[in-house]
Amino acid sequence: MAARAAAIVGIHEYPSRRVDGVSKWQIKAESAARALADAGLTLADVDAVYDAGETGPMAGIAVPEYLGITPRLVDTTAVGGSSYEFHAAHAARNIAAGRARVALLTYGSTAKSESRAIGTGARSMGDPAPGNNMEVPYGLPLIGNYALVAQRHMHQYGTTPEQLAEIAVTTRAHAVRNPEAVAGLAALGIRNSGEITVDDVLGSPLVADPLHVLDCCLVSDGGGAVVIAAADVARDCRTTPVWITGAGEAVGYPGNDRDITTSAAALSGPPAFAEAGVRPEDVDIAMIYDSFTITVLTLLEDLGFAKKGEGGPYVEGGRLRFDRPGAPALNTDGGGLSSNHPGMRGIFLLIEATRQLRGESTAQVEGARTAVAHGNGGLLGTRHAAATVVLERG
């Protein structure tokens, strides 16, 4: 892939965080049309469809039918929020192998309108997997699952709640520069949509110790689309191609000796960096799945931006703000913590990384050339999926 065979050529982020009378199908279709128009392509050019199945069963049939397209390649890998990094990796490989020329990834969600309590919701009780059947009596909510990691990280390495809060503070500073994020915070009823401080985070209510409300992502509506094309197609597109130069995938799950402070990113990151021929210190833009502050801290360490256990000091003092040289800029769109999180945020990591490498971000890093998008899907403290995608300009 380092040979620059496949590039992101079209993107669209559905702007509204609170839709009214719009379905997730419609969000997907409108996003697809706009991402293709961004590239200068049309639905007729699409020959590969990637879908995480958020509209329901048999999405590999239903989505092409709804869009009226005839793909020769369908991939419905569904591993939660990381699905879109898996999709980008698979699309790049299939395009490099000549099996597809134009791949379309779409996402649509009305999680907010449906009032889905994602973070504190009860688990589904029907027909559990064996592993889940061991856990149902304890009602560990999604946030609690991540809190297990945070508590152990604090114990093992001396990480502090203040250090975790730094991540939320940096991300909010980026969101404040992004008009769609600011409008979204208002639409979601977030009273303070300005910058926040470490004290604000620590003063917000605990949801599952040690995580506070402001350590958690938003729940919003939303969606988007990404178009990935072969090099010869990309050459004729309207946009500057953003090349997919490396990717890695992994899963993680509980075990008697598993160190819960290390995620599957420690397995997906090295092959992605090796394939691209870049090192963490070469990365300008770190788009790191931010369901919770602890997610970011763990993933930054696992991907090699900081040594294991040193993520706390690493994120201190606003080091990852877009205007600080010497470290990558973190989640420059405002992330899931402060821009949008409709349930599976991975597609927005690819979209904002592309904006940065095109020079179009609202928190633009001057001369950004290399980005990493890392998706974490599922549950960090128990079972999760990880995919790392390295993106490069020019």
Binding site: A122, V136, P137, Y138, P141, H155, G381
Partner: protein, 133 residues
């Protein structure tokens, strides 16, 4: 009175986990060793596994205090503690720890207690040496 909310229970017909939960009904906390004597993270598949009884004592590996919950039973129980407990025999179990949330800490010694639910019982750990009265 229509309905105090009740604790969600495991499905006793799930083939890989039914034996564990039925043993709980007899107040036996069981674990599995593989052919080489290694301790299996239940209910992971293993060949030639042998089921053994645990003494039910271990340490808190990590924990959280659940303060908000969408389910009426857990909401009524909040704040409560969920932990990964490392049992002395070498297996790890997710479970509730019935203790003052402010007193729980990583490394705390705990022992199993039982909350009966007909054919099964739910393991609920408590601080070691604080046997129920």
């Amino acid at each position: 009175m229509p309905g105090e909310p009740t604790r969600p229970l495991p499905v006793l017909t799930e083939p890989d986990t039914a034996a564990f939960w039925r043993a709980c009904g007899e107040h036996r906390l069981t674990y599995t060793t593989d052919r080489d004597g290694g301790v299996v993270f239940y209910p992971r598949r293993t060949d030639g596994g042998q089921v053994r009884d645990s003494a039910g004592r271990g340490v808190v590996y990590t924990y959280t205090v659940v303060r908000r919950h969408g389910h009426p039973y857990f909401r009524s129980r909040a704040p409560y503690v969920v932990a990964y407990v490392d049992l002395d025999e070498g297996f790890r179990l997710l479970a509730e720890v019935d203790a003052d949330p402010d007193a729980v800490h990583v490394g705390m010694r705990v022992e199993v207690g039982w909350e009966d639910h007909g054919e099964t019982a739910v393991p609920v750990f408590r601080p070691a040496g604080s046997a129920a009265t």
